[in-house]
């Protein structure tokens, strides 16, 4: 007999009902309430819980009341101070600016901090364990927290809405601009909330939680003060809604923000995911999508703004954007390449059945060997993008009709084909390969020596190794007396001074490039067995589902 057949102690079935389901005619209010009750079945459970809790919380009531009081005071004092002048000039815009300042205090500070505390409290008050053994997925938990932040946000908007409506009746109120700023503020607040949610998953011990809480409060408050200054500027800045360039820039902002929100969501979800589950693929896929989006949007933007003059890519942009991409891959590569190689049975079971899809999916699967493969492939892609764009620059426009010849020149190390920017991108790709390759190999070795080595240790070790390699060449200069300035080949282990030297076209650029390419090749060779193992492991893995 299951719990479903349970009777009361006296043996009679229970007739207790939580909701009113009797047959008497219902008032409109009750009907609406029942409709909401039924609709809530389809809502995220966390959203329902958090909203219920938030609406009863002292913090919410106080913030809501303060918003109303502050907005009311602005209206009253504004009218008193302005007198008859409120009917002239741009008082509508000024009033709106004040309301926006009040609103952003709530939505840029209180809402993100509430989201941060809400997930942190789950651990702090031992409720997360109970939550995590329900059938809610980590993603549902995170989305629930984020959506409840959105609900609070909307309620705060509703508190200020009547006052903004009042401001709209005054002269100088720009409805399009106000709507744009309100929507923008909402998206920023949600971004902050997502970011603070992610931060909250990193602090698992009480002392880190306290420290992180203080940091989050400080950062939120400080950024809010900078917003107060920005709002004044925004009030008087003309917005060119009719110009396509404006919307293009907004589109770029939306894409980049959305991609980072997705990344934060993936990281937060991974942090909450069960240990034997796949914590890596979501982040790897998002990082790859970000990389490709970054280049596609950049190329499309330059093409768009090139207009009728024809597509021309600034050669400096290849170097600059290449550096941004390198930073991106240094961070994600460090995390991917230093993961343990072990693939859990659970992940193995969920591998794609189709061999081709499985092959494509390999770099995105957890494991250090596959992580290094993932990094290598994307660094190759970056280098090819840089090489591919070079004929579209002003300096190499002659190769536009002969891209193959340009490629041959690059492969044969023709100095004319190798611009300073291409050398910088190549050198930085090599540095990432070398340092992360050493880190990955050291991590594998360390794990063999000791079972107490975790990925975090390997990452810290890799970072320290890089730091030592960057600083070591300067030690002789510091203790010696014959330092004459300038770049020396001894500094080749330092990516910063080397990149600077290559960018300025140093005479030994060719030699440095070759040294770094050799280093990257050795690193690739050292890590090749791990990459092969990682690939073979997936291709030969049987992924029979367990019997139901």
């Amino acid at each position: 007999m299951g719990f479903a057949g349970l009777k009361t102690k006296d043996g009679s079935p229970s007739h207790f009902r939580i909701s009113n389901e009797d047959k008497t005619p219902m008032s409109t209010g009750q009907s609406v309430a029942n409709w909401f009750e039924r609709s809530s079945d389809w809502l995220n459970a966390i959203l329902v819980k958090e909203t219920r809790q938030a609406l009863k919380s002292r913090q919410f009531v106080i913030t809501f009341m303060l918003l109303l009081i502050a907005s009311w005071l602005i209206a009253v004092f504004g009218m008193l101070v302005g007198g008859d002048a409120v009917e002239f000039g741009s008082t509508g815009g000024v009033f709106f600016g004040f309301y926006l300042a009040v609103l952003t205090t709530a939505i840029f500070v209180v809402v993100p901090f509430g989201a941060f505390r809400s997930l942190l409290n789950e651990r702090d008050q031992f409720t997360y364990d109970m939550l995590s053994i329900t059938t809610l997925s980590p993603r549902q938990i995170v989305m629930g927290k984020l959506l409840s932040a959105l609900v609070q946000l909307l309620i705060y908007y509703s508190a200020v809405a009547p006052f903004i409506a009042f401001a709209s009746l005054l002269p100088g109120f720009d409805l399009s601009k106000a709507a744009f700023l309100l929507v923008g503020a909402m998206s920023i607040s949600l971004s902050y909330s997502m970011f603070t949610l992610m931060l909250s998953t990193f602090a698992k011990q009480r002392h880190w939680q306290t420290l992180l809480t203080v940091i989050v409060i400080l950062v939120l408050v400080l950024q809010q003060f900078s917003w107060y200054g920005s709002i004044t500027g925004l009030m008087f800045m003309p917005f060119s809604f009719e110009e396509p360039e404006f919307w293009w820039v907004v589109g770029c902002y939306v894409i980049s923000t959305a991609s980072y929100q997705m990344l934060f969501l993936q990281i937060t979800t991974a942090q909450l995911t069960f240990e034997s589950d796949n914590r890596s693929s979501g982040i790897r896929l998002t990082a790859a999508a970000q990389f490709w989006l970054f280049w596609i949007v950049t190329i499309a933007t330059i093409a768009y703004f090139s207009g009728s003059t024809g597509f021309s890519f600034p050669v400096e942009a290849i170097g600059g954007l290449g550096i941004v991409s390198i930073i991106h891959w240094s961070v994600f590569g460090l995390f991917a390449a230093t993961e343990p190689d072990y693939l859990s049975r659970r992940v193995r079971r969920n591998l794609p059945r189709n061999s081709f899809l499985r092959l494509l999916y390999i770099p995105f699967l957890p494991g250090g060997g596959r992580g290094f493969l993932y990094l290598t492939l994307h660094l190759f892609a970056l280098w090819w993008i840089a090489v591919g764009l070079m004929p579209f620059t002003d300096t190499h426009a002659s190769f536009q009709s002969e891209p193959v010849r340009y490629l041959i020149n690059v492969m044969t190390f023709d100095s004319a084909a190798w611009t300073n920017e291409l050398r910088v991108v190549t050198a930085l790709c090599c540095y990432v390969m070398i340092y992360l390759g050493i880190g990955a190999a050291t991590g594998r070795w360390a794990r063999v020596v000791s079972t107490s080595i975790f990925p975090t240790h390997v990452r810290v070790l890799t970072f320290l190794l890089m730091l030592a390699a960057w600083l070591a060449p300067y030690i002789p200069d510091l203790i010696g007396t014959n330092y004459r300035g300038g770049y020396r080949l001894l500094y080749v282990s330092n990516p910063f001074s080397t990149s600077d030297h290559l960018w300025s076209g140093g005479s030994d650029s060719q030699a440095i490039t070759l040294i770094l390419l050799f280093g990257a090749f050795v690193s690739l060779l050292v890590n090749t067995p791990a990459m092969i193992r990682g690939v073979r492991d997936i291709l030969t893995s049987r992924c029979k589902p367990l019997t139901e």
């Binding site: 479903a4 229970s14 219920r52 809790q53 919380s57 008050q125 939550l131 329900t134 107490s452």
Partner: protein
């Protein structure tokens, strides 16, 4: 090195795991069919600390199994692994045949875990709390309302349905915790120290609820507690763990037998006869009887070890009366679970 497959640890194949201890599962004749709980050579290491070390045992539907061990013996770690809150370093645990490593989602539908200290959400009343967990387990509409209703009835929390959970007493909070654990009608219940901090009445009530869950609803209840007398009353089997290793596992009687064996006993039962007169004579008389060994008199009572069958036991009793001893009381001395625990464990801490 054993051939235990590593489950989650990156380099578990580099770890030398301790050999599993072969302990029989509770072997009551009625325990047939598949086990609802099975720990198979489970290991959980935290650095060098072997929190759970080669633990294996089984439990079946309708069984209340006690999990007994001193503080830091690995009880909570094993329970957390079983509830999919932690992953084993090696080995596996199964709930109704589903692996906690491979199928945590399925295990979560089948298991209800009540940790020793579970937090309470602020600004929430009893119904909202249960409603949230019902939603979290995917219950919708009438099914959700029915699930909440059943739990409120079973835990007798109906009167407190609208009360804020912050204001509930410890006993009522434990009931609510049990209700939360039952909301999705799980087959297996894992209760970690559920009676801790409860007053005697609340403990008795909780014991009744647990008994009802196993006997009436055929659920497996896996329960840890420090109050061994209480566990002895509600459990039909137990596993004793110390320093991460299972020292004894089986039905309560089997564990008592193990205790006797661990003392070097030959299976003799201890009896106590209290008389109104001639205790010394009774002692001498008993020493002359067959199947009787190790007699000792203390006050007005004589205790003796007896290895015979019931027929011989009857003869002894008859002989005492026929020889003119004024018998006031005659009974066998039952070894408590506490005695067994003290005899089996060695007080090792990690």
């Amino acid at each position: 090195m054993t051939d235990i497959p590593p489950t989650n640890h990156a380099d578990a194949d580099e770890v030398v795991f301790d050999e599993p201890v072969e302990l029989g599962a509770p072997s009551s004749p009625e325990r047939t069919g598949e086990p609802t709980i099975e720990l198979r050579n489970l290991h959980r290491y935290f650095g060098r600390l072997k929190a759970v070390n080669a633990v294996s045992f089984k439990a079946y539907a309708g069984q209340v199994m006690g999990f007994i061990g001193p503080n830091g013996s690995g009880k909570t770690t094993a329970m957390r692994i079983l509830s999919t809150l932690d992953t084993p370093t090696a080995g596996d645990a199964f709930v109704c045949g589903y692996s906690v490593v491979d199928d945590p989602d399925k295990v979560r539908r089948l298991i209800g875990f009540m940790p020793d200290s579970f937090g309470k959400y602020a600004n929430m009343d009893v119904v909202e709390y249960l409603d949230f967990f019902a939603r979290a387990y995917g219950y919708k509409g009438a099914a959700r309302r029915d699930a909440i209703e059943r739990v409120l009835v079973f835990t007798e929390l109906r009167k407190l349905a609208d009360k804020s959970i912050d204001t509930l007493s410890k006993g009522m909070s434990q009931r609510l915790g049990l209700g939360r654990t039952l909301i999705h009608d799980p087959q297996v219940l894992v209760l970690d120290e559920p009676a801790a901090g409860l007053d005697p009445r609340a403990r008795v009530e909780l014991r009744e609820l647990i008994h009802l869950l196993a006997t009436e609803m055929n659920k497996t209840v896996f329960i840890s507690s420090h109050i061994l007398t209480e566990l002895g009353e509600i459990c039909d089997s137990a596993a004793i763990i110390e320093a991460g290793r299972i020292l004894a596992s089986g039905t309560i009687n089997e564990i008592r037998d193990m205790q006797r064996e661990s003392r070097g006993g030959s299976g003799a039962e201890t009896f106590i006869a209290r008389v109104a007169n001639r205790v010394d004579d009774l002692e001498r008389w008993l020493l002359e009887q067959p199947y009787v060994g190790l007699v000792s008199a203390s006050g007005d009572a004589c205790s003796f070890e007896f290895e015979g069958e019931q027929v011989q036991q009857h003869k002894i009793l008859k002989g005492i009366i026929e020889n003119g001893f004024e018998l006031l009381e005659f009974h066998g001395k039952t070894e408590s679970l506490e005695d067994a625990f003290m005899a089996i464990t060695k007080g090792i801490t990690q």
